[in-house]
């Protein structure tokens, strides 16, 4: 009888531990997923801001067609990009085109004085930062999660319920992590 109780007790203990570990892993996995979706939210916000920006700039510097068209083109490419690598490339193009646009605004004092433009510039700078920070947060969350599923005894539970390692958001070089400095 005593043996049975001990066995039952041990089984119960194992179940409690497994449930606790499982919940912990789910929690960390959900954090990663939330962080990932936040990146998309910010990217979308950037796409939404760009047409406004282009319209505003047009009013003051309509003959800078090429720069403006590049921005629009980069935006549309980024929206329609498929796959992480392709998207990352398109986003880089867009970031470059945008910083060119802001550099250009330096030679138009009227444009710079425009309140709407200043607002858009602040919003875009902030959105660039938000993209960078949400990627950073995603990577941080993935790092925590990836370490957690490797630890003992978590790795046994992770194996049982198919928690697999997640990929980090790779950046080509470290300078890219920082949002382009738009000085004003």
């Amino acid at each position: 009888m005593t043996g049975l109780y001990i066995a039952l007790g041990v089984a119960l203990l194992v179940i409690v531990v497994v449930v606790a570990i499982y919940n912990g892993l789910v929690h960390k996995k959900v954090r990663c997923e939330e962080a990932w979706s936040q990146i998309d939210v910010q990217l979308k916000r950037r796409y939404d801001l760009i047409p406004n920006l282009v319209e505003t700039v047009k009013g003051y510097a309509s003959h800078e067609k090429e720069t403006l068209e590049n921005v629009i083109k980069a935006r549309n490419t980024a929206i329609s990009a498929n796959g992480v690598a392709e998207q990352a490339g398109a986003e880089n193009m867009l970031t470059g085109a945008l910083s060119k646009l802001f550099a250009l605004s330096e030679s138009y004092p009227n444009l710079k004085a425009n309140e709407n433009f200043a607002q858009l510039q602040e919003e875009l700078t902030s959105t660039e930062n938000k993209i960078a920070f949400s990627r950073q947060h995603y990577n941080d969350s993935v790092a925590v999660y990836n370490i957690d599923i490797l630890k003992f005894p978590n790795n046994m539970v992770a194996g049982m319920f198919k928690f697999t390692k997640r990929d980090m958001f790779e950046l080509e070089d470290t300078a890219q992590r920082e949002a382009p400095k738009v000085s004003f």
Binding site: R31, E34, A35, Q38, Q42, Q119, E122, E123, T125, S126, N129, K130, F133, S134, Q136, H137, D140, S141, A143, V144, I147, R177, E178
Partner: protein
């Protein structure tokens, strides 16, 4: 792995908060017991209706904290020869109740009290889009909820965070600091404040600020009740037992009145200096840019102005000590804040 370090810090802060609350309750009840004994002796030990009577007396006295005038001097004289434990325990329970209410109040409302004391005014995104953007960016970096943002209308440069957890947090910045920082520096300062939020420093510091105030107040009540009311007086001159008890109580009261505030201060400053370094490190963990905060601290340290709305209780909450002048800020060892120059040095030594 820095994340692990911060996790242990958060766990420690929560544990310390529980300890603080427990210690505070025990201390409050113990002191309540002593005060009850002192009052009980003056009222008389064996009156049949001391419960209702004691209650009435207590309520009078907590409001005015002027007990001597309330104490009836025509109470029966001969009976008051032994310690009235019932009355003492009753006052202890009431004190415990008061402590409990205080704890709840400071847990749920402490942040608002401190914001109110600092004359902080909540703002919306339309009032200062850049400030909101900067904070939003950092909440994304830390994966934490957006705090409420407050402005203190003061030309002195300072900032603080308060609340009970990241979901109920507020950050406040003076207009003086806001206008003198560029975007990167503002980001550094806000990241420092959000690290306090993330580390649960805000809960501990807010509870501390309220409770230190309460302990000091109660010790004062106790000292007064021993010196001017209670066991002293003409009625017990013949009773040597009570005389000795009175002396002991007086000594305890004086020691407590002196020690309690000092002890509270020591706990407060010893813990908060370490927290400032950790919040600086946490800020860099968020921004990955030590220069922003370092430059902001340099600007902050050059500020000679004293923040009028800050006081001793709220001082540990601020990013730099709000009351002291720069020379003292950078030299004093027994302070709630580490010297700014040391903080800048440590920031630059952080590898990102």
């Amino acid at each position: 792995m820095p994340v692990e370090t911060f996790h242990t810090l958060i766990a420690r802060n929560k544990r310390n908060s529980v300890l603080l609350i427990t210690g505070f309750m025990i201390f409050f009840m113990g002191l309540g017991l002593l005060i009850g004994i002192v009052w009980g002796m003056s009222i008389g030990g064996s009156e049949p209706d001391y419960d209702a009577y004691g209650n009435a007396v207590y309520e009078h006295q907590t409001q005015g904290s002027e007990m001597p005038s309330e104490i009836p001097h025509d109470a029966p004289v001969e009976q008051a020869t032994e310690i009235n434990w019932h009355f003492g325990i009753m006052v202890a329970l009431i004190a415990g109740g008061v402590a409990f209410v205080m704890t709840l109040a400071s847990f749920y409302g402490g942040g608002n009290v401190l914001l109110g004391m600092s004359k902080a005014r909540q703002i919306q995104k339309a009032n200062d889009p850049q400030l909101f953007n900067v904070v939003e960016e950092l909440t994304l970096a830390g994966g934490q909820p957006m705090p409420k943002i407050y402005i203190i209308n003061d030309s002195a440069m300072n900032a603080f965070a308060t609340g009970r957890n990241p979901k109920h947090a507020a950050v406040a910045i003076t207009t003086g600091l806001r206008t003198r920082l560029n975007r990167d520096e503002l980001q550094g300062v806000m990241a420092h404040e959000l690290s306090h939020v993330r580390h649960y420093d805000i809960l501990y510091a807010t509870l501390m600020a309220v409770m230190v105030g309460c302990v000091v107040m109660l010790c004062d009540v106790f000292l007064r009740s021993v010196l001017w009311g209670g066991a002293g007086g003409r009625r017990r001159k013949s009773d040597s037992d009570n005389g000795i008890l009175h002396i002991i109580l007086t000594v305890v009261a004086i020691v407590l009145a002196i020690l309690a505030p000092i002890l509270a201060r020591i706990i407060q400053m010893a813990l908060s200096r370490q927290r400032e370094y950790l919040a600086d490190a946490g800020a860099v963990e968020l921004t990955r840019n030590p220069d922003g905060l370092a430059n902001a601290l340099a600007k902050l340290s050059s500020d000679e102005e004293v923040l009028e709305v800050a006081n001793r209780a709220t001082a540990p909450l601020f990013i730099v000590h709000p009351v002291k002048k720069f020379e003292e800020r950078s030299k004093s060892i027994f302070d709630t804040h580490p010297p700014v120059t040391e903080r800048i040095k440590r920031l630059h030594s952080l590898t990102v």
